[in-house]
Amino acid sequence: MPKKDGSVILEVKDLIVSYGAIKALKGISFTVKSGEIVTLIGANGAGKTTTLRTISGLLRAEEGHIFYMGDEITNKQPHKIVQMGITHVPEGRRIFPDLTVRENLEMGAWTLRDKKLKQDKMEAVFELFPRLKERQKQSAGTLSGGEQQMLAVGRALMTEAQLVLLDEPSMGLAPMLVEEIFKVITEINEEGKTILLVEQNAEMALQIADYAYVLEVGNITIEGNAKEVAANPKVKEAYLGA
């Protein structure tokens, strides 16, 4: 079971990120507590992906700070951030299409030196996604969209990371697969990983999350327990289609 001890695993403070002259994040602050599923919802272009990419070091923060387990990680190299324990499942899955399924998982385990540990991790991923085991020798590009998403999640689970950043895992998937992927996210969380989930499918995200933040054009406008946020009339109108 996850350690929901109330300790903060990730803290983002007054984060500003720009693309040229355009400010994508205008000074956002939020925290993720250990063992929880925290979701960041918002419309297209609100800055959700930018937030995750800045946490994992792919984008530079112009101002502000990011702390992981109390250590500052702002603008560190992505590979250093992975080594510290944050893994990121990017938007659009971004699997390596010409590598086999197995090779993709091995790439996920790049930071692990211990062969036995790597093997155990791979077994665990195959247990979670039996389809990947069946297809381990196929090139990843031949997988269906849903299988590719599973591979992207499985690949992230090949690390020792404590915090998993998930960017739009339901994007482009059929409703049945969406259900399945959300079920898997819950399972991963129950096994002890903390999750920061970015979603446009606010309804599903709020169902499984403990805590939620609403991001609107670079600012956090609403936050609270996922249930409270789901009940908020503004959220209902703007994101839940009610």
Partner: protein
């Protein structure tokens, strides 16, 4: 027909194709990872040729017989070091700048290597005879009407062994897998915890080493070297890489042999035609097959 497509032409085609292949692999590997057409790549080949030249001269001056494998290692190391330094000094600071900046810088690096070499008194701007017979005494074999020299045998077999080793590294080692992953998706590779700069360094080193080896092999087979010797073979190896599909290692090899054969056969028909055939191929490929023979069009799956 018989007079043009004969055994001699085939031997020559394989030999010249092997040289192009060693050079074009470096082009394609570097392009695959950082989308840079490294115009200085042909000069790494020149550096390899001079490193071999000095190694052989040094042994000869000491009245020793130079060991071919050691000379090969020296030229590969020289090519690798120059490639590594070009990346660190010239290309790396421009990594996240517009691509055109790096491309222009590559032309600058190329000129820097050529003109600096010719300014060094020990190298100089004019042709030097490569002491190939001090390295390996020549033997020729007659096969029917064709003449095969042991230089050609060394040339092709060293190239083939190096290509096999390279393919093994790229396909079956951990770092090779990381190279392929980085070429497919650099950001995703970084998210796996791969230090992309380390992979880029390694890619330049491998490409430079292969170009350096090609420099030595050329010195043996066409024993005249000068600081500008890399320009034309570099350009042709680049064309071979484009023909094969830039970014694809098997493509670079295939494109190089096709180009080698086309040139040799073109030459047999008409020497001017033979010279120009590479450029004609480039134009045709760019018009009709821009992704090359083994390159791919990418598309996203939903």
């Amino acid at each position: 027909m018989g007079s043009i497509f004969n055994l001699q032409q085939i031997i020559n085609g394989i030999q010249i194709g092997s040289i192009y292949a060693l050079i074009s692999i470096g082009y394609t590997l570097v392009y695959g990872i950082i989308q840079l057409i490294n115009f200085a790549h042909g000069d790494f080949y020149m550096v390899g040729a001079y490193a071999a030249y000095f190694a052989v001269m040094f042994s000869a001056a000491r009245k020793e017989h130079p060991n071919v494998l050691i000379v090969l290692l020296i030229s590969m190391t020289a090519g690798a070091i120059v490639a590594f330094l070009s990346n660190r000094i010239a290309y790396r600071p421009l990594r996240y700048k517009p691509r055109l900046s790096a491309l222009i810088t590559a032309i600058g690096v190329s000129m820097f290597l050529e003109y600096t070499s010719s300014a060094i008194p020990a190298i100089g701007p004019s042709y030097r005879a490569f002491p190939q017979s001090a390295l390996i005494p020549e033997h020729t074999y007659k096969i029917g009407h064709a003449i095969l020299s042991n230089y050609q045998i060394v040339n092709v077999s060293v190239a083939v062994v190096l290509m096999v080793v390279l393919t093994y590294i790229v396909q079956y080692t951990r770092i090779g897998m990381a190279m392929r992953a980085s070429a497919q998706d650099k950001d995703a590779a970084r998210l796996m915890g791969i230090d992309i700069e380390y992979i880029i360094d390694f890619t330049f080193i491998i490409g430079g080493a292969l170009a350096g080896a090609a420099g030595l092999l050329t010195g043996i087979t066409y024993p005249r070297i000068n600081p500008y010797m890399g320009i034309i073979p570099g350009l042709k190896a680049f064309i071979a890489a484009v023909l094969g599909g830039i970014g694809s290692v098997p493509g670079a090899m295939l494109g190089s042999y096709i180009l080698g054969f086309s040139e040799v056969f073109g030459m047999a028909i008409n020497s001017i035609l033979g010279e120009g055939i590479a450029y004609a191929i480039l134009i045709l490929v760019l018009i009709f097959l821009p992704q090359g023979l083994l390159g791919k069009k990418t598309g996203e799956k939903v």
